[in-house]
């Protein structure tokens, strides 16, 4: 229990506004995936450093769907259970490109500022 607490305190919060980008990128890499799969993937990739509140994932998925960037479909999971799979739409792919570019520009700028200081 104590160990877990400590781990929590070292974790990074998901930077504001980047959850959408992370989800889109995950779906691009993995192909159609259900909510838990996306959560797992994010945690794995970040070596569990990312303090993802898994609950925030679902409203975010809905938002992306409402904006037409991803599309849900019911399917069978690896252990043959009914699950909702999300996949990237064409518009989603374009959006991912745009957001990736923006993110890289922003981070490089922040990097330059920090390095310059």
């Amino acid at each position: 229990m104590k160990k877990l607490r400590k781990a929590e305190s070292e974790r990074l919060d998901v930077p504001h506004g980047t959850l959408d980008l992370l989800i889109l990128k995950t779906l691009e890499t993995l192909g159609p995936q259900h909510g838990w799969g996306i959560a797992r993937r994010l945690e794995q990739v970040s070596d569990d450093v990312l303090a993802l509140n898994q609950g925030t994932l679902y409203p975010a998925l809905l938002r992306l769907e409402q904006r037409g960037w991803i599309r849900p479909a019911w399917g069978r999971s690896e252990n043959n259970r009914r699950a909702k799979f999300y996949s990237l739409t064409k518009r989603g792919e374009r959006q991912l490109e745009v957001e990736t570019r923006n993110w890289l520009r922003t981070t490089s700028l922040v990097h330059r500022v920090l390095a310059g200081g």
Partner: protein, 875 residues
């Protein structure tokens, strides 16, 4: 774009709940199971694995809430819940709820009704193709007077390169007889240029529109209505129908509802050799697609000089321009409608103040509940949300009932509104309903504003300790009093406005008309075109008609004339060589009459004689003038025997001087608040062909029948058929109706303003009653103590009455100031009374103070009956 999409989905999600949330439950269930299994694989016990899974997810309820927020419109779901709660709360206090809803429904209903008038008259787009591109070409002076064009001006403008895709010209609409082999009826006809109908961009429903080679070929386009009266068959195309006695071939029928501008029922072309008589023409145009109205206006203004050089006249300050057709058509009603909108807006303000006051009263009786809520962590924002939900429910119900009230109010409008306003087809349509919804929301926001501010001052501890026994002098009490004073102030201003308009109406109706309307009936007859182009045919028809109509039962005198009280006549230039003052050549009101005309109307002869049967074609040319003519040209009164020379119409006719043989009393022409113009009357027997043809082009002939009272219309119409089957009577009515039409605007305004001010007054009275009676019940113990200490019942009574009177007096004082400001807008609408008429201001003040005392009488009496013993115990 994608954001828009998101919000569209959200709106949809709001309307279509639940399905997605059930799916979410399944998704989360799956998520938890997967996470639990993984945790078990990592070596946790089953229970611990499940607990960890839940922790990582963050609570299904929270996720569901967040999901719901995203799925639907923010706050909307909560609002729905709150509204359900509000409905339950409101049902527990039926008296308050009914009162608030009634007040709102009246306010919103009256506003909706007036808005449907305003929308029809001022705002609704005209039913033509791209109506915003339709303009009226104008000629105006810097002072704002505008002038019509003559036909030559149109031909000149038509030849220029102007930023219009089409341009058309139309003459004054006049009545014409439509006759087939077996029937004849009267319809409004417009003479137009060949491109006129193209300007509107509406194709005929049947047949085709005019083409340039139709000019001179006697062709006609019918409205749907006239087509129906002629049988409504498609075979009408190519048929010949007589209009004004002249055969025309029907080439097309316009779609149902199309009437053009100005409204007409059939359209004829100008004759090819038409050079135009008089400046009675309107020029309409459709702007080129790429041209803005301002640019077109500037383009025309720059042509003003060239336009005037054509006449070899000084351009003066008059300028050409364009104005939107919509704007042009409603211009003369704009002020009237804005007045009503303003008045009804004030009524809504009173209704909102009243509702706010009710809401405050309810709030203070709920202060303990609200304090508990606040204590339990329902923050101020939450309380405001509850208030908003309640207001929304009240506004929604009030608005819905308001629509019903508006429907009833529109029925009333139909009986009192001026005909030209109703001609805009005033109705409750989707546009008006949307406005009604908006007004409801707005009033909901407005009346919950006061209480919302008040609730901010709600001190928790006070409310909990003090319970329902708060003192009446607190800030909430002050707010309520202010709201009552506001209601009285606005009611007073409305009442003063209504009083001024009512006095205007009474003043107009008691104006010396200059004739005796009792028992006088009139009927119109078009004598335009065909055989009636010969003066002798007119005279024969007149002689037959006078003989035949005199035989009708109850008829005392019959006459025919071109001018009638309440209507304008032909504007004709005359020369008055021996004048004492005025211009040598001036336009006057010109008309012909048969011998009994002045007798039948009861117009007094002031000097000299009237016209008689001896003034026939063989006798010397004579004329009778009115008093206005004498004032204008011969202020000394020495007018008998003087000569007057009407402008000869038609090129080869020489001037015919006429001797003035008599003066008749002025009788009102167009408007009752206008002095009649200088007028000249000539005997029909001596009228030239040209003046008769010109007169009948613009005006129908009017039969005047002086009767014992009622008139048998059936007998009159049969008599008309005997006189001439091709010239039917139309608009048979008592002359009172004509005068009624002349005062219909004032009557409409007075009726509406009185209705509004009485509603406002009733609301103010109810508001005052509420506040005073509330304060009496709050002060029950205090009053009890005073009475126990020996205060007499009359002192208690006076004390309470004084409270009501004081509010009334402050309201009236503020209202006086408001009325001084607001009645300025009435300046141009009132007649025979000053905008600051002291008696109106006083009577309204007295009425309001009386109402204030009456409204506090019941609570005052109740106060005197307070039994000190019970008031101490009651807690």
């Amino acid at each position: 774009m994608d954001r828009l999409r998101e919000w569209a989905w959200r709106a949809l999600g709001f309307l279509r709940p639940s399905q997605r949330e059930r799916e979410l439950q399944e998704e989360m269930q799956f998520h938890l199971e997967m996470e639990t299994e993984r945790n078990v694989e990592r070596g946790m016990s089953r229970a611990e694995a499940e607990r960890h899974a839940r922790m990582r997810l963050g609570g299904t309820a929270q996720v569901t809430d967040a999901y719901r927020e995203q799925r639907s419109l923010p706050g909307a779901e909560q609002l729905l819940l709150d509204m359900r709660h509000a409905v339950r709360g409101l049902r527990r206090t039926p008296g308050y709820t009914a009162m608030a809803i009634a007040v709102l429904a009246l306010g919103i209903g009256a506003n909706t009704a007036v808005w449907s008038v305003a929308d029809a008259v001022l705002f609704r787009p005209l039913a033509f193709f791209e109506p915003e591109r339709l303009v009226n070409v104008t000629l105006s002076s810097p002072e704002g007077s505008s002038y019509h064009f003559d036909y030559g001006s149109f031909r000149f403008l038509e030849g220029l390169d102007l930023p219009f895709s089409s341009i058309g010209c139309v003459d004054t609409v006049s009545g014409v007889n439509v006759s087939t082999d077996d029937s004849a009826f009267y319809a409004r006809a417009a003479r137009v240029s060949s491109a006129y109908l193209d300007v509107f961009g509406r194709a005929p429903a049947l047949g085709r529109s005019f083409a340039t080679d139709d000019v001179g070929a006697a062709r006609v386009l019918l409205s749907h209505a006239v087509h129906q009266r002629l049988g409504g068959s498609d075979a009408i195309l190519g048929e010949t129908v007589r209009f004004g006695g002249e055969p025309h071939v029907v080439i097309g029928v316009m779609p149902d509802g199309f009437e053009g501008v100005p409204r007409a029922e059939l359209w004829l072309l100008f004759e090819p050799d038409f050079r135009g008589d008089g400046t009675n023409h309107q020029i309409l145009a459709r702007l080129d697609d790429r041209v803005e109205k301002n640019a077109a206006d500037a383009a025309l203004a720059s042509l003003s000089g060239e336009f005037y050089r054509r006449y070899e006249q000084d351009a003066g300050e008059r300028q050409l321009g364009v104005v939107g057709l919509r704007q042009q058509l409603s211009a003369y009603r704009r002020a009237d409608v804005l007045l009503l909108l303003g008045a009804v807006g004030l009524l809504l303000l009173v209704a909102c103040a009243n509702c706010a006051s009710l809401l405050l009263a309810r709030l203070s009786s709920r202060s303990r509940e609200l304090a508990v809520r606040a204590a339990l962590g329902g923050g101020r924002r939450r309380i405001l949300q509850l208030l908003a939900a309640e207001s929304l429910v009240l506004a929604a119900v009030g608005g819905t009932l308001g629509v019903l009230i508006a429907v009833l109010a529109l029925r009333l409008f139909e009986t009192v509104a001026p005909a030209d306003v109703l001609a805009w087809s005033v109705r409750l349509d989707a546009r008006v309903l949307a406005m009604c919804g908006l007004l409801s929301l707005l009033s909901g926001a407005l009346f919950s504003l006061g209480p919302a501010l008040g609730s901010g001052r709600l001190r928790l501890t006070d409310a909990l300790h003090d319970g329902s026994r708060g003192s009446s002098g607190g800030r909430g009490g002050l707010l309520r009093r202010s709201l009552v004073v506001l209601q009285i102030t606005v009611s007073y201003a409305l009442l003063v406005g209504a009083g001024l308009l009512a006095q205007t109406l009474i003043g107009l109706q008691s104006v010396d008309l200059g004739f005796e309307p009792e028992g006088v009936w009139t009927a119109e007859m078009s004598l335009q075109g065909g055989e009636m182009n010969e003066g002798d045919a007119v005279r024969t028809l007149a002689r037959d008609g006078l003989e035949r109509l005199a035989l009708l039962g109850g008829v005392r005198a019959v006459a025919l004339g071109s001018n009638l009280p309440g209507k304008r006549g032909l504007n004709l230039p005359v020369t008055v060589p021996e004048r004492e003052q005025g211009r040598e050549r001036d336009s006057i009101n010109y008309g012909y009459v048969t011998p009994d005309f002045f007798g039948a109307l009861g117009v007094r002869s002031v000097r000299g004689r009237t016209l008689g049967p001896d003034d026939d074609s063989g006798a010397p040319r004579v004329a009778v003038v009115n008093e206005a003519f004498v004032r204008n040209f011969f202020p000394s009164g020495d007018v008998l025997g003087r000569t007057v020379e009407p402008l000869p119409l038609g090129p080869e006719h020489s001037v015919v001087p006429r001797t003035i043989v008599g003066v008749v009393a002025d009788f009102k022409t167009r408007r009752l608040d206008e002095e009649p113009p200088p007028s000249l009357f000539v005997p029909l027997a001596q009228a030239s062909n040209e003046t008769l043809v010109t007169t009948h082009r613009f005006f129908p002939a009017n039969w005047v029948l002086s009767t014992d009272g009622e008139l048998d219309r059936g007998a009159l119409e049969r008599a008309a058929l005997d006189v001439s089957p091709d010239h039917p009577f139309s608009r048979v009515r008592p002359i009172r109706d004509l005068l009624g039409a002349a005062t219909s605007t004032e009557r409409f305004q007075a009726v509406l303003l009185f209705s509004f001010s009485f509603l406002a007054l009733a609301m103010a009275a109810a508001g005052l009653f509420g506040v005073v009676s509330f304060s009496v019940s709050r002060r029950q113990r205090e009053i009890g103590v005073r009475m126990a200490l020996g205060a007499s019942a009359s002192r208690v009574l006076a004390g309470v009455l004084a409270e009501g009177f004081l509010m009334g007096a402050i309201g009236v004082a503020l209202g006086l100031a408001a009325a001084f400001g607001l009645t300025q807008f009435l300046r141009n609408m009132i007649f025979g009374v000053s905008a600051r008429d002291p008696s109106t201001l006083l009577v309204a003040a007295a009425l309001l103070l009386l109402v204030a005392i009456l409204a506090s009488l019941q609570p005052a009496l109740r106060a005197t009956r307070i039994d000190p013993a019970t008031s101490f115990r009651a807690d």
